[in-house]
């Protein structure tokens, strides 16, 4: 017979997972996210790419039907295909942005926090400078320099997020560096790098993962805003923001053209936010009200 564990026998990770799985809203978020992600991931199996750009003027502005489940736009393009492939840009790019910002932020903040002294001062000054520029404007400046393009947009938005991550990683490294178990590890002569990887990283990762998840939602919104403004991704490449922008004039009489892509963005962002909130409560149950 398997022995039932008492609460104190679970590791921190198991407890976090347990609390996360008990959170209904977070599980709903996971389900919603998986639903959206699977559709987007397997888009090529559902609709071939050429339906995204194929114009069919005869079928223009058709409401949702069995043939076009989300209807068609004014050029007769299938809205469902466009949203499927548009989601690829929104979702993959925002994941890429978070990954870039996370890694660079961790490197900068980690170095600053771990080495302290002059390294810390110089790095953090630069980070502070970047932080005083509103991130939307910084992104626009970068796009001005680099021009339009999906990967350029990713870079532009990622740079705007680096300072936040750097600060967070730094403060969590500093808190942990001064903790006794790290001190103890140092007394045993374990190298800095090993301490960082084996002790500081696993313990400081919680708040950073939470923040990364919550930022992911904001980044999805930023990408689509940029798309809406015609910066970064431009028509006919589909992106959720550009889809709304290119249908703007027709939304009044064909509301599905606005409502459907809007709801797609909202559901995706909401699912990510649910997951983020759930993770925050799981990592730090006291923060829950």
């Amino acid at each position: 017979m398997r022995k039932k564990k008492t609460l104190s026998e679970y590791s921190t990770g198991e407890l976090v997972l347990y609390r996360f799985r008990k959170n209904k809203l977070a599980m709903l978020g996971v389900a919603m996210f998986l639903f959206v992600a699977l559709f987007i991931l397997f888009a090529p199996l559902i609709r071939p790419y050429d339906t995204v750009v194929k114009q069919n003027i005869a079928d223009r502005l058709q409401g949702p039907s069995s043939e076009y489940i989300f209807g068609t736009d004014e050029l007769g393009r299938d809205l469902f295909s466009r949203i499927l492939y548009g989601g690829r840009i929104s979702l993959f790019c925002s994941l890429a942005i978070i990954a870039i910002a996370f890694v660079s932020g961790a490197l900068i903040g980690g170095a600053a926090g771990f080495f302290g002294g002059k390294v810390d001062t110089v790095l953090m000054r630069i980070v502070d400078m970047l932080m005083s520029v509103p991130s939307a404007l910084l992104a626009m400046a970068i796009i001005t320099a680099l021009g339009n393009g999906v990967w350029k947009l990713v870079l532009a938005l990622a740079i705007g997020q680096i300072p936040r991550f750097a600060r967070m990683v730094r403060s969590s490294v500093i808190t942990l560096r001064n903790m006794e178990y790290v001190e103890a590890a140092r007394c045993f002569g374990i190298s800095s790098m090993k301490i960082m990887l084996k002790h500081i990283l696993p313990n400081g990762i919680g708040p950073i993962v939470v923040s990364a998840t919550l930022t992911l939602g904001a980044v999805i919104l930023s990408i689509s805003s940029m798309g809406y403004l015609g910066l970064g991704v431009a028509s006919p490449t589909p992106e959720w923001g550009t889809i709304i922008s290119e249908n703007k004039v027709n939304i009044q009489y064909y509301p599905y053209l606005g409502i459907i892509p809007g709801i797609c963005i909202m559901l995706t962002v909401m699912s990510v936010n649910f997951i983020g909130d759930g993770l925050r409560d799981a990592f730090d149950p006291k923060s829950k009200n």
Partner: protein, 309 residues
């Protein structure tokens, strides 16, 4: 006059920030691939024409020299002229700034006026219908792109119902919807922040002390809890202000408001470096000044903050 000294110190500290931010921007913007002169003159310009224009704009000089000369001009309030529109950057900016500031300020005020009372009320009546309603609204607002909410509201309230002007700045009514849309995100964070903060405060020992003195529930909230719970809210307002000015770009675009936003978008699309440069610097300064104001307000509310140190 601790606060005056503090404000001056912060303003002086702003100078190195501006110098560095400008430099970073300068480096970023000079990375622009392709030839700006060719872009301006068009595809059929001769090499000589391009070289001449490059020389005229000073683009053939090394980066550092260009930076220094930009800064020298900037100190004399000359931020250059637009590459594409042939207007003076500072002049155009000061013409457009009031619109952006007006919409942003209205948005923030709307968010505070509606969000803070709602947040406080839902904390006091935790687990009530109001509380759940607020939580739901916050969730929706945090997930909704502002441009979508703006477009849909514009179509519904302005085109279908014809309650409000569709766009422009013709009357005071035309500011209502832009301010609400731009404030929506801040509204959500005001509700969330003041709720959380109030819930934290009412758990504090000094609230129990206040009750033990014979204060009614209402008096405890009004005289003891609200001021304490506002401290993190004010900090949050500062954080949101920067986001709001960034968001103004979108809102101005939807409602055709002749603010900084529309100028900036055109400049980014046209790769009009002097305009982008100037705009970003000005806005950064404005955001820094607003943050300074926020810190001063915090010090007024919270006596524990010592500006002198």
């Amino acid at each position: 006059m601790d606060w005056l000294k503090y404000a001056l110190k912060r303003l002086i500290m702003l100078i190195p920030v501006i110098i560095c931010v400008t430099f970073i921007l300068f480096v970023i913007l000079s990375l622009a691939p392709g030839d700006v002169a060719r872009m301006i003159l068009g595809a059929d310009a001769t090499d000589e024409q391009i070289a001449a224009l490059n020389h005229e704009m000073g683009l053939d000089r090394p980066l550092l020299i260009r930076y220094v000369s930009y800064m020298v001009d900037a100190v004399q309030l000359d931020f250059g002229t637009s590459w594409t529109g042939n207007f003076d950057v500072l002049e155009e900016f000061s013409f457009r700034l009031p619109y952006t500031l007006l919409v942003s300020t209205l948005a923030i005020l709307f968010a505070i006026a509606v969000g803070v009372p709602l947040g406080i009320a839902s904390a006091i009546k935790q687990y009530s219908l109001l509380d759940y309603g607020c939580t739901f609204v916050v969730m929706l607002l945090f997930s909704m792109p502002a441009f979508w909410l703006g477009t849909m509201c514009q179509i519904f309230f302005c085109l279908t119902l014809r309650w409000l002007p569709v766009s422009g700045v013709g009357s005071w009514q035309s500011y209502i919807l832009p301010a609400v849309i731009l404030g929506a995100n801040t509204l959500a964070s005001m509700i969330r922040m003041s709720r959380t903060s109030m819930l934290d405060v009412i758990k504090m020992d000094y609230i129990r002390t206040a009750r033990a003195k014979g204060n009614s529930n209402k008096d405890v909230i009004i005289h003891h809890a609200i001021r304490n719970s506002l401290i993190p809210v004010v900090t949050q307002i500062g954080i949101n202000f920067a986001g709001t000015i960034g968001g103004a770009v979108v809102t101005e675009n939807i409602f055709a408001i002749p603010g900084i936003g529309s100028m900036l978008i055109n400049a980014v699309k046209g790769r009009d470096v002097p305009v982008v440069m100037g705009t970003v610097i000005f806005i950064t300064v404005i955001v820094c000044v607003i943050n300074l104001l926020v810190d001063l307000v915090c010090a007024i509310i919270d006596p524990r903050i010592d500006l002198a140190s």
